[in-house]
């Protein structure tokens, strides 16, 4: 059993859309047999939360050059392109 990867979920307030997206991604990945540890913060605070994070998923624009894999997506709110984004997330977490 490998250690679950840590995913940092970010949004404008760090409490609203990131909570919904974290929940949706966690559930969807569980169905694919992947468990993750989730963290949340505001997009403006991302840099100070990166230390042991494997992937950043945000609903709002992120600062450039975080030095970590990052995905900005609204797919978990609008439903558009959700499976494609999940494939991308899975690929990053398995790499």
């Amino acid at each position: 059993m490998t250690k679950p990867k840590t995913v940092l979920f970010a949004c404008g307030t760090g409490i609203a859309t990131s909570t919904v997206v974290a929940h949706a991604v966690e559930e969807a990945l569980k169905k694919r047999g992947i468990s993750i540890t989730t963290r949340q913060c505001k997009t403006t605070e991302v840099a100070s939360y990166l230390a042991d994070v494997d992937l950043v998923i945000s609903t709002a624009q992120l600062p450039k050059d975080l030095g970590k894999p990052a995905i900005t997506t609204l797919a978990f709110l609008t439903g558009i392109g959700k499976d494609d984004v999940l494939d991308k997330i899975e690929a990053i977490l398995k790499s």
Binding site: G12, T13, I15, A16, T17, T19, V20, H23, A24, T43, T59, A60, Q61, T72, T73, L74, F76, L77, T78, G79, I80
Partner: protein
């Protein structure tokens, strides 16, 4: 997904076929309702407007009928609540994902959030609702609170 949005949506905070020129105008109208109904503090409207200008909340649905979900920090909120407006003509909101991109919006859900569990539920229900293009179309055409209630109840 369950569409129990009416549980959160105060009938007194539903505005249909609003004629508004800007996102600020819609937000002010809805915030005024939430304030008079006792959901938010008087600072709420300005806080939402400030946030919207920095971090817009438009959600692109791939066409001309997009949705916006303005909200702000919990300190301006007294109890969780939701206000809803349909716009007779689209109003421009920034795209949450890319603030420089402007989206024509027809439906606005103004959220008063201060309870973590409640807000997950509310946002999940909004997300579930907007993922149905039929519901979006029907909401735009809604003529009465009863119409909205049937669609979101």
């Amino acid at each position: 997904m369950a569409q129990a949005l009416m549980n959160d949506l105060d009938p007194g905070a539903i505005l249909l076929e609003v004629e508004a020129a800007t996102d600020q105008e819609v937000i002010r109208l809805l915030a005024e309702r939430l304030h008079s109904l006792g959901y938010v503090k008087s600072s709420f409207a300005e806080a939402v407007l400030a946030r919207e200008s920095q971090l817009p909340t438009g959600l692109p649905l791939g066409g001309d009928n997009n949705v916006a979900v303005p909200h702000t920090d919990p300190e301006h909120v007294l109890k969780p609540g939701l206000a809803f407006a349909t716009l007779s003509r689209p109003v421009t909101f920034g795209n949450m994902e890319d603030p420089d991109e402007k989206l024509p919006v027809r439906l606005v859900f103004l959220m008063a959030l201060n309870d973590k569990d409640k807000q997950i539920e509310m946002l999940q229900e909004i997300a579930g609702t907007i993922q149905s293009s039929e519901t979006i179309e029907a909401l735009i055409k809604a003529k009465s609170v009863d119409d909205v209630s049937r669609l979101l109840g």
